[in-house]
Symmetry: C2
Subunit: 484 residues, 2 copies
């Protein structure tokens, strides 16, 4: 074997040790050096090939790190195993980052997949009445932009967003212009905030139950999640958590909350802000549903009540117009806007211009507010239809829920002993999707709860969807094994 290496080892311009690695590797591959064979001692090989011992050591170490050789102190170095034959599938699994493997929850993806599956009645995705989308006004706005200034639509735009759109939001929502940053959806904002504000191990207080996308983003950033029972709204409990965990931030969705539908009263909002100021903790306010009241407007946002510049306000056009727009915004202190913009450039140098210009026009022309007015009435109507269907089809006592005053969801509790996760499996088989409670909890809990969206299917399909759900519940009830 030494002889054949000597023959093969011709001087090249390549680094000697990588040349030697290749030769040894080929010898192993050909079987000239079978598994278990002892390779020559380093000094011997170096002498025969007239190269330095260091070169041989490097080559052996390289082959060791690749699992082809293994050294035993006092015994020598041995061939470990034959290399994989050509054509072996590339071992991708071993290439995935540890952090990526940590978070493999695919709930959000499943929700959006079901929403776009025509064979599925989806009460899962949080979608407004998209059949009310102002298509004509939108198309007119697109045509206007492409007629007047196509270059601005197609070239790069500012990372913070188009000034025209930032100003329209500033005027519509009463936020100073320099505090507005445009996003490709609120989820992008949560991801950016998590990356800007969270170091691994930081504590974050989140609504419990609360928005699953926020839970995922903060968890992926390595945060330790502390749930605050937002329905109870106990401010003393919150203070206790602030003192005990010293969180990096508080995330809350205080209006027509996802998933519970509840709204934080103005008194609690004020106390929350006082605590945040006292403990120097920023609040991330998810205001996605704030404009979606049925009759009574919601209390002012935390942003509006904030006297200390500590609220980061997150908003979106996904729930008031359409998720397909991929458009959201943040209002925050200019230093945070700057930080987020620097982070954003790395993953999305700018948000699509065309949709920004079009939305700016819909806001300026009043089409956006006219649309809001229409969907408030329609959402209230669909909420009533869903509650009536639930009362009509679901066996008495199987499901408890409160009547929502806005937002998109009915939050339900199953009768004791019934699992929402098991029910979901049954429901999907029957062609109806919802979101099971555990997705909304930062800890293992919530399997007796489920979220239904009353706006995501047409009124004509609402009744059928609820009937399928009721059928799945009846089936569970009649199979005691399933409810164990």
């Amino acid at each position: 074997m030494l002889a054949s290496l000597e023959t093969d080892f011709v001087r090249t311009s390549r680094p000697l040790y990588s040349h030697l690695v290749t030769l040894l590797e080929s010898a192993i591959a050909r079987g000239d050096l079978p598994s278990g064979a002892r390779v020559p001692p380093e000094r011997t090989l170096a002498g025969r090939l007239k190269i330095s011992r260091t070169t041989v050591v490097s080559a052996y170490r390289e082959l060791e790190s690749r699992g082809l050789l293994r050294g035993y102190v006092g015994r020598g170095t041995f061939v470990c195993a034959p290399p994989e034959p050509e054509g072996t599938p590339f071992a991708w699994r071993g290439k995935i980052a540890a952090a990526a493997l940590r978070t493999s929850d695919s709930t959000l993806r499943d929700v959006v997949r079901h929403a776009s599956d025509p064979r599925m009645l989806s009460l899962a995705a949080g979608e407004p009445a998209i059949d009310f989308f102002p298509n004509d006004a939108f198309q007119e706005a697109v045509a206007h932009v492409l007629r007047n200034d196509p270059a601005s639509a197609w070239r790069h735009g500012p990372t913070e967003g188009q000034p025209e759109f930032r100003h329209a939001i500033s005027d519509r929502y009463g936020v100073p212009r320099e505090r507005v940053l445009i996003l490709g959806g609120a989820q992008q904002g949560l991801d950016l905030l998590a990356r800007c504000l969270i170091d691994p191990g930081d504590a974050v207080i989140v609504d419990r139950p609360g928005y699953l996308g926020a839970i995922q983003s903060f968890r992926a950033a390595g945060a330790k999640l502390i749930g605050w029972d937002v329905a109870a709204g106990d401010v003393d409990e919150l203070e206790d958590l602030l003192v005990r965990y010293r969180p990096k931030l508080v995330y809350t969705n205080p209006t027509f909350q996802n998933p519970t539908g509840i709204t934080m009263p103005i008194r609690i909002r004020r106390e929350l802000l006082t605590l945040a100021q006292r403990y120097r903790v920023p609040i991330v306010e998810d205001a996605t549903y704030h404009d979606l009241y049925f009759n009574e407007p919601a209390p002012p946002t935390l942003r509006e009540l904030d006297g200390h510049n500590l609220v980061i306000h997150l908003n979106s056009f996904s729930k008031v117009l359409a998720p397909g727009l991929r458009l959201g915004w943040i209002a925050a202190a200019p230093s945070i806007v700057e930080q987020i913009a620097i982070m954003k450039q790395r993953l999305d140098p700018h948000t699509q211009n065309l949709v920004q210009f079009a939305m700016a026009r819909l806001i300026r022309q009043g089409a956006f507010d006219a649309h809001l007015k229409r969907i408030r009435a329609e959402h209230a109507r669909r909420s009533g239809l869903m509650l009536a269907a639930l009362q009509r089809h679901v066996p008495a006592g199987a499901l408890r829920f409160a009547r929502p005053q806005g937002g998109l969801y009915v939050w339900c509790r199953l009768e004791p002993g019934m699992s929402a996760t098991a029910l979901l499996e049954r429901a999907l088989a029957a062609g109806v999707a919802f979101v099971a409670g555990p997705a909304f909890y930062p800890d293992p809990a919530g399997d007796s709860q489920l979220r239904l969206c009353f706006t995501s299917v047409l009124p004509s399909a609402l009744d059928a969807g609820v009937r399928k759900l009721a059928g799945a519940i009846e089936h569970m009830r009649s199979s005691p094994a399933l409810t164990a």
Copy 2:
């Protein structure tokens, strides 16, 4: 002071220690406990308030962690400093994550900002001839989608992308359907790949010089960047790097490379793939410019030459159509597509549907390929115009460059002693932007180089842009202090 604490300390339903923290904090704020004052020993206070010593210890520790108290072994605990008065600006700087502070390079954002600044002639941003964008065909496609199936445009879509669009790409580029994943731009793909594949400390081999967005994404994920001199294309050097650093992946932009414009010959492509297979290292191929040849089509992509399923192919419509579309795609092994989709849902549950449907239609109808044909000719023309302008206006010897055969860039070397960073400052003041060389290097280097984009301004403005640049160079030459 003890007396007043005793008076104020009434039993509440709140946790005792957080109640005590508040009381002590107020006493400090009011000045009852001035800076430097010694607070009662824990045992004493516990006795007087009739609470456990543990509660007092917890309260003191809490105030210590907030910087209000400081304990000295054997001496007792003292008030540190008065709290900030009400209305003090919220100290946002202290809230930023360490990882976010690590990466504050804003080059990408500056580039896109200059591109959208009407007062600036930008030779910086990499933009194709957007004045050739097929506006009518695009608007027709949008109208078609909104007329036929507005719900599919506005509701959620699959995280992997709309099947219709994935299939159009699959057919156009010859990739199996299940290997295609749609992105909101190639930069999103780089961010996702960095997060999916890189653990902090992993080595990554990148083109040197190479795409700044890739350098930023990999660096932000904590990678150790190893530059491979892509222009020299020395495969032995690459093998040496593979052996020495055991990188997690190789990132390369092999065709009409950004920033150099060079194209890797097919022989080197094959050797690169052989090495990647031998060392089990995935290759991320950035193929953004592959279709942008002037006369001669480029060699096959690494994806097409890959016999071992180890290439992740990254592509985009930003350079062949318009960056404003925010649309890109990845072709990879199905297990990688799955991993990326799970990561993507967290930051962008799905890419905008409308633009996917519209682009699918432009591809199917042939409008996309017709457009490619038109811009190839136009880009070749603009490249010639820029070279002519450079020869006309720039003082002889001040700038060296090669004639590009495709892509969007002329890569220039300044005469010795001249700094591209200093020149950029001068050029921006004169109203013309470019990208200085250091942005493309993973290590501190490149200040004698700069990248000019010949497609991002109209031909009528190209000459003026180059003239301003030449003026800035002349100014630098005549101010010896600046070239020191």
